[in-house]
């Protein structure tokens, strides 16, 4: 009950935050230099044509009225119409979010598992060869730009070894996958489409690996540092001297306290991962949210930029909420 109250309170706090984001984004995107209307008109367009196009998108109205229209639309779930494509932003968003979310969730999930396993393993072998190797590898992974790493993995995995499909999409179109959520793996499961599932999984392998390698280092270092602290704590030493079984020591005394810091860091990493998808989607022809938002920004497609920033803000808030809840579950000292 207390947890529910906490979640409800936090969700209520989201409202003013999102309202601030809505106002700021609306103003800032219009302050940026550039005219979105001119990018959609042909070379023979006159000022009258440009005025007609502005009217079509409601950009001829006063700024305050545009803002009120935008707010009204948001309340009814209408994000507006993309200036570039002429399609409703909501439907484009629905197509784009699923693939990116699938990519990010799988990559961060994989990175978390690797970080916990290797971080604890490394801490228990502190300053030995294995520990040094893991730390150096994590550092190297963290130092590599995702764009370059993606190209290298494509060269090796697709071009040289031929183990993975060509980086040209998220699923083989011949599998006739019916899109439901936009996340191809999920859609394949929901529609019980086996070939689509294997195809989506094979297409996911390299981009997920790229993203996971890029984000794993801070998580791993955090887990290792926490685990080392615990291993050197009086409580852990006392438990060891009492002759507790290694499994009990690991589960009861090491793992849980070592993971206390992880949720907040994972939430931050989640945000970084969303940012990284812009380049990863480009390299792997992923056509997800990152590429869509970037194109919107480059062409000043106001409704697209507004919707994507709002969604990212909402994502951040929700991820940090989840992190706080998990933190409270892991650390009994935290009361929510």
């Amino acid at each position: 009950m207390r947890l529910l109250r906490f979640v409800a309170r936090r969700l209520l706090q989201v409202v003013p935050v999102l309202l601030g984001v809505v106002v700021l984004t609306f103003v800032l995107v219009r302050v940026l230099p550039g005219d979105p209307i001119r990018t959609i008109l042909g070379p023979n367009a006159t000022e009258a044509d440009a005025a007609a196009a502005r009217a079509r998108f409601g950009l001829d109205k006063p700024m305050w009225q545009q803002f009120l229209d935008y707010l009204k639309g948001l309340v009814t779930g209408d994000f507006g119409t993309s200036i570039q494509s002429g399609a409703p932003v909501g439907s484009e968003l629905a197509l784009r979010v699923g693939p990116t979310l699938e990519l990010v969730v799988l990559a961060v999930g994989l990175a978390l598992v690797v970080a916990v396993v290797l971080g604890v393993w490394s801490a228990r072998r502190a300053d030995r060869f294995g520990d040094h190797s893991v730390r150096i590898l994590a550092l190297v992974g963290n130092s590599m730009p995702e764009f370059w790493l993606g190209l290298v993995l494509i060269l090796v995995g697709y071009s040289a070894l031929g183990w993975f499909p060509a980086p040209s999409g998220r699923v083989d179109p011949d599998t006739d996958l019916t899109p439901l959520t936009g996340a191809d793996l999920v859609d394949a499961i929901l529609t019980a489409n086996g070939p689509a599932f294997t195809s989506a999984l094979s297409h996911l392998a390299l981009p997920v690996a790229t993203l996971a390698i890029v984000v794993v280092a801070p998580l791993l270092r955090s887990v290792r540092a926490s685990a080392l602290e615990v291993l050197r704590s009086e409580a852990y030493l006392a438990a060891t001297t009492h002759g507790l079984r290694p499994r009990t020591l690991l589960r009861g005394y090491l793992l849980r306290p070592a993971l206390v810091r992880l949720p907040a860091l994972a939430a931050l990493v989640f945000g970084t991962a969303i940012g990284s998808t812009v380049l990863i989607e480009y390299v792997y022809s992923w056509q997800g949210f990152g590429q869509w938002a970037l194109r919107g920004l480059l062409y000043r497609d106001y409704p697209v930029v507004q919707a994507s920033v709002l969604l990212i803000a909402l994502g951040y808030v929700l991820v940090f909420l989840i992190a706080d809840v998990v933190h409270a579950v892991l650390d009994p000292r935290v009361r929510i």
Binding site: L32, P33, G34, D35, P36, R38, T39, I40, L41, G42, P43, N44, A45, T46, D49, A52, A53, Q84, S85, G86, A87, P88, L95, R96, L151, I154, Y158, S159, L161, G162, W163, F164, P165, A166, P167, S168, G169, R170, V171, D172, P173, D174, T175, P179, P195, F197, T198, S199, A200, L201, S202, H203, A205, Y282, S285, Q287, Q291, L298, Y299, R300
Partner: protein
Amino acid sequence: MADSSLSRSGVSRRSVLQLGGGVALLFATGACAAGSKDSGSGGKSAGPATGTLRIAVSSYLSSWDQDFVGFDLTALMLYKNVFPYMIDYGVTDAGGSKILDTGNITPTFAESFEPSADQKVWTLKLRQGVKFASGNELKAADVKWSKDRAFAAQANVAGVYRTIGLTEASQVQVVDDYTVTFTQAFPSALTRQIQAISLYVFDSVEARKHATTDDPWAKDWLAKNAPTGGYFNVTRATQGQEIVLEANTGYPGPDPAKAATIRVTVVPDGSNQRLQLQNGDIDVALGVGQRDIADLKKTDGVTVVSAASNEQVAIQMSVTTAPFDDVAVRKALAYAVPYEQIIANVYGGDARPTRSLVPLDMPGYDEAGYPYTYDVEKAKAALGGRTVNSELVFETDNDTQQRIAVLVQSEARKAGIELKLTPLDPATLGGRRQQKNIPLQLTSGQLWVNDVEYMLATSFVKGAALNYSNFTNAEVEQIYEQSHTTVDEAARLALWKRVQEIFAAEVPWVIICQPNFNLPVRSSVAGWVQPMDGLARLRYLSTSA
């Protein structure tokens, strides 16, 4: 609870996890291999099936609605192949390659398109029995609805129609089920070329079903649903990934599609297109950069088709912004640009030097139009010992423009012109162009209509959208007005000669070169026809694999 029940059954959690992990690993490995095999794209695949071409493009189209779409090359190229265009360019040989012949425009889906004696009324006669994918027959009412829609859109077609005196929907009239007339305000030599890029037709019967009071032209529906009835029909469009085109077997005119199926796949990264071409997973790469193309020329199984193009690379100088409001400074820069060095280093020699702002291969091209070659001493002399500062703007992420800018900066400095290089993203560039405050900018592009009148309309008359140099000249304006109603070829050529004399004296642009169009394809691909408007006609392509 689960833990204790597992322990009672004698199976530990570790065992379960190990078993589960093993199965997952096996499944994932199998999935990767299976996915690789299923997609036909993993590793060294055997190549395309007979009759199927795979083309990589850099982006997915933004909309299927040609009346409202922006400058989206993928979309415009696809429209050429899926819309029934009533007339189109023929094909001719040029220097060993085939190119679209802008001087020979022939009926395709139409039976004929001919003018009246005074060349003001053009009559379009449709072939009978031509059908859209819906089964509806293409009739005069579809042409009328399509053009009414274009005028209502006040966008692409409406803009270009002004150049031939078509400004109102009432100028397009249905005569009978298979005949439509276009009554122009004046006769124009451009009519055929303008209609070649504008006379596409919607399935109006189908579109009307999706029109509403709020959306009388079915914009929402047409933005999402591919047009039908062209050389190809879209049989599948996977958003963001792939569009499958099947040849329209009902096409009634000359030059039907040669490939039965074309799969247009989105691969944004040029280097990935290169890899997939090398591996035989795509047949045509429509987005590979100059450096990758140079490497692909040495690759087995890959051919780089090279064809003369009318793409112009230029530096537009703002004649209203200091220091380029001074013609002497414009001339100095024209002498300071290392033309041959750019052709050799940036284009690997695969570009043509040019001597006029009128493109090579455009009727009326005159070598006297640009009497400037690289000569630092002449540049210094033109500046008269002064040193001037400015900025040179180019497109962000345009590697070719960046390399040109660096070379120009280096040589201009020797002449006394200090240039600050400024890369700009598309919207900022567009905004600054609208404000007309860019003193110097690199541009590249080709005109959709191969005619000087159209070039003047888009680039050199007052208010023209591509007139980034803010060039105005009373005589050029007068020649432009005169050209509207001048249909005699010799008279037009005389006008163009005078225009080029003015350009030579005024120097609104530095014209750098015309790069050849290079297209890397698998060696099994044949039939590429170089489009003079930059929009590939896929019907000519075939594969022998």
